[in-house]
């Protein structure tokens, strides 16, 4: 957390003392690290102990923290808010992490069957393949592209390219998903500062938060997430742009199928055709340039903040105007889409 705060302040036009609120995104700390009250913990890293709170929405915690910061800024309660996403996962055993992550599903309808999160996405992938005829070889392209992108990202957890054919040769986790279809267990922290007082060339143009039924059993379909559809519609309306104006996208690819479903739900491909964007790259739009959750890493609550930072970096480098981060929790029960605008 300390490092991420330092990095955020280094790039900001304000000092630590200008921060009048801190929001920490975190999912697993009390369960896995035995630490709650992360708000106070984070605030104590600043010299003046500003007020702080913690946001939790499983994997969407990061973007939900950003959304909460927007609410504080819009209401006038705060002028400069520090948002930190943090997760420390590698200290605990894989079993403890799996059980912790499973808390993002429905504790009565899903968890008692012995499902794990890869299992939930195994169900989704199997159904997706059944409905749309996606092949295992096609699915390999998703992780392969994310790994290829991560080579260029010094912050990525895995900076190695992996050929597509190797993805499906990795051990099965929850068929048809293999190990290399799943985002890893990661440690990470990401921080950014939102302000209505200080100017930055990168502006937050929209933050749209939506929810859906927690359990897959309560949804009409499992091959599309209505929370993503709603969030996209609201985000575009809030930013007053069309989806074609977006030049960089960071997708929530916790499992490779999730990236395809997200592209379809956001309207970049028709249902069942998300894979076409991995077969032919669009020169005007980048997808998961950071390596995505798969290769850059998925420190659960840090991800939402990290994605937004990646979009900001990509916009600054490319001098394009708009970029979008898509972040969801669980199997799409919470979705938050953040649109950034480069005003330079």
């Amino acid at each position: 957390m300390d490092e991420s705060i330092e990095a955020a302040l280094k790039n900001a036009p304000c000092s630590a003392l200008d921060i009048d609120y801190v929001i920490v995104a975190n999912m697993l700390a009390e369960r896995v690290n035995g630490q709650a009250q992360l708000g106070a913990l984070a605030a104590s890293l600043l010299p003046h102990h500003p007020p702080a709170l913690r946001a939790e929405a499983a994997c969407a915690s990061g973007s939900v923290a950003l959304h909460t910061a927007c609410a504080l800024l819009e209401s006038g309660r705060a002028e400069t808010v520090l948002v930190i996403g943090v997760e420390k996962m590698t200290d605990a055993s894989t079993e403890a992490i799996s059980a912790g992550l499973m808390a993002a599903s429905d504790a009565e309808k899903e968890a008692p069957t012995g499902l794990t999160f890869p299992g939930i996405f195994g169900l989704i992938t199997n159904r997706y393949m059944h409905e749309y005829g996606l092949t295992r070889d096609e699915l390999n392209l998703v992780s392969a592209m994310h790994h290829k992108n991560a080579v260029e990202n010094p912050f990525a957890q895995f900076r190695t390219a992996i050929p597509a054919e190797k993805i499906s040769k990795s051990p099965l986790v929850a068929d048809p998903l293999c190990l290399l279809d799943c985002s890893p267990i990661s440690d990470g922290a990401a921080a950014c500062i939102l302000s209505t007082k200080f100017e930055s060339p990168i502006k937050l143009a929209a933050s749209a938060l939506t929810t859906d039924a927690l359990s897959l059993t309560d949804r009409a379909t499992i091959t599309s997430f209505s929370a993503t559809k709603d969030a996209m519609e609201r985000a575009l309306a809030e930013a007053e742009i069309t989806r074609d104006m977006i030049s960089h996208i960071e997708l929530h690819d916790c499992f490779s199928t999730a990236a395809l479903i997200a592209l379809e739900d956001m309207g970049y491909a028709t249902p069942g055709h998300g894979i076409s964007l991995y077969k032919e790259e669009n020169p005007n739009r980048t997808l998961n340039k950071s390596g995505g959750l798969k290769a850059c890493g998925h420190p659960v609550a840090a991800t939402g903040v990290k994605q937004v930072l990646d979009i900001a970096k990509q916009l600054t480098a490319s001098k394009k105007q708009y970029g979008l981060a898509h972040n969801f929790g669980g199997a799409g029960a919470t979705c938050c889409i953040t649109v950034l605008e480069n005003t330079l």
């Binding site: 079993e95 309808k109 008692p112 299992g119 929850a174 499992i222």
Partner: protein, 307 residues
């Protein structure tokens, strides 16, 4: 706090609810089940129960069966796990039944499909049908890349080859086929939005189709969505049927002799198709007399409307 009366009552209610037969909507095998469960790979399914609700449940797969979407299952109480205190926890699992998988596609509505070789009278029949039960049916336009011809009704929407490919790539065309012909390259297809629009009007879409389009529709909307009628020309043998077709094609005077040759060649394959793919047809109707055929069909339409 997991044994308060309200939690116990909810658990009992949920168990009663889960005790129903169902169909597998999707399944997976978790290779590393969570702590407390047996370490062996664990098959879990998303199951649609008879009452239309969905549940997650562990699957019991008899060794002679392989898991597939659409397979039927029956509930069975089974030991799920033993907790840290040694308590044996039972729950409803689902055992696979050795029956043929059923379609689990989303059901949007019915489609009436008329299939048959060219010249058998599909267009005439659909026109008469539209007249007879006009409140209930609407024809689905056929997208085609061929040029408009004299004698064509209003059943075609003419588009260019490029437009057709673009729509197909976008996934807007649900069934497409290329009908072989010596003289030109012709594509035919249906747009899902045309069919969905008719459902929204509360009417029954009628498609005039051929074997490839019928298969495409059946794959897209699910076989049970389609009331499929095969139209046969009169005649006892294949030769007699083909000659009846030839006679009709010549007398209607819409095609050149070259086209007719093509059409007869395709018709032969169509007639074989009725025999080879029996499961794709609900009714096979011989078009001996238009009145009888339209009466039979409007009977089917009214049955569907009532359903």
């Amino acid at each position: 706090m997991t044994n308060t009366p309200s939690i116990t009552a909810r658990a009992q209610k949920s168990r009663v609810h889960k005790t129903q037969d169902g169909v597998i909507l999707s399944f997976t095998t978790v290779r590393h089940p969570p702590e407390g469960f047996s370490p062996a790979p664990r098959a879990i399914g998303l199951i649609e129960l008879q009452d239309g609700s969905k549940v997650m449940g562990s699957l019991i797969v008899p060794s002679e069966l392989t898991l597939a979407i659409g397979m039927r299952v029956k509930p069975r109480m089974r030991l799920e796990r033993i907790n840290a205190e040694g308590l044996r926890i039972y729950d409803i699992g689902y055992e696979l039944l050795a029956e043929k998988p059923v379609s689990t596609e989303k059901f949007n509505g019915y489609i009436l499909a008329l299939t048959g070789p060219s010249g058998v009278g599909k267009s005439t029949i659909s026109k008469l049908l539209a007249h007879k039960v006009s409140d209930y049916v609407e024809k689905v336009p056929i997208l085609t890349t061929r040029a408009a011809k004299e004698g064509d009704g209003d059943e075609y929407l003419y588009i260019s080859q490029e437009e057709f490919s673009a729509l197909k790539k976008k996934g807007e065309i649900v069934a497409a086929t290329q009908i072989p012909s010596k003289t030109e390259k012709r594509w035919y297809g249906y747009r899902s939005k045309d069919i969905e629009a008719i459902w929204q009007h509360g009417k029954l879409p009628v498609v005039i189709t051929e074997m490839h389009l019928l298969q495409g529709l059946s794959e897209h909307f699910g076989r049970r969505s389609i009331l499929s009628c095969g139209l046969l020309p009169p005649g006892k043998s294949k030769r007699a049927r083909l000659s009846a077709l030839l006679h009709r094609l010549r007398t209607r005077g819409r095609d050149t002799e070259e086209h007719i040759k093509d059409r007869i060649k395709n018709a032969e394959a169509d007639l074989d198709f009725f025999r080879e793919r029996k499961e794709l047809f609900d009714h096979l109707i011989v078009n001996e007399d238009l009145e009888t055929v339209t009466t039979t069909l409007s009977g089917h339409v009214l049955e569907l409307v009532k359903a």
